[in-house]
Symmetry: C2
Subunit: 140 residues, 2 copies
Amino acid sequence: MRDDPTHLAEQVSTVLRHLVLLLRRTVAGQPVTSQQYGVLGSLEGGPRRMTELAEEHAVQLPTMTVQINRLEDAGLVARGSDPADARVRTVELTAEGRDRLRAVRQARIAHLTRELEALTEDERATLAAALPVLAKLGRS
Amino acid sequence: MRDDPTHLAEQVSTVLRHLVLLLRRTVAGQPVTSQQYGVLGSLEGGPRRMTELAEEHAVQLPTMTVQINRLEDAGLVARGSDPADARVRTVELTAEGRDRLRAVRQARIAHLTRELEALTEDERATLAAALPVLAKLGRS
DNA sequence: CCGGAATATTAGCCAGGCTAACTTAGTTGT
DNA sequence: ACAACTAAGTTAGCCTGGCTAATATTCCGG
């Protein structure tokens, strides 16, 4: 029972549910939704094509089309074209989108930071040690 | 920089996004959605009232009404009444609901267990140590 | 230059949130 | 005793965010 993957799985499952609820509360009422924030983040390094964005966010292309439409309507991104291939549409941040991204990131990090400051230094160290393990999950 | 909550927050943020995607993949294509599974779980200990369920899942009452409607249509739960207060509706698992819950739980745990078995014993220990800390987040 | 592959979009469906408005039933105060 | 308030649920209508199927366009290979 000391190293029982099944038992651990049950505990992980419980904690995961807790984290999902926490995330929902964290994100509620921000000026962009969680998904929009994610997409904006993908554009930080420069223009991307639709297919790339869809893959990166593990959604189908039509889903991403709708997302980008909304971001475009909000003035946060702009569509462009690839001169080398007329089929591809590129998407890039507008100045406003870049500002918005920075602001939201700021807010999210600040929120999480506050949560983490409520922990002891030991607890933070324990958490930090586990992050690489968590990141490894699902890569198998 | 060795114990910097802000820096840790950024890493946690990244890992959280990874976990959300992992969860989405895990859950896709199961016979009940993630939320339905959660509600069924809440009913395992016996009948509950609508308000309790809504609070427990951090949603508004109308949202829970719709959820329960769907579960009722699917034959997994049944509505009842509180003899002491005609305003309250109770919700309980049907036999089929109980079976379904068991099956889905089995599948989810099995899936996660497989992921965890891919880790080393040390990594599992690291993860296990961090779970109480993660559970503590957001309770402040 | 024609047929198949690749890139996006449109349309239409569903789950799962929300608020506002409504009904019904208990509770309270005079 | 009853009017007014409060509590519990539901209904209606809206939004986001997924999906698939169908459709345009464009590119590329023979």
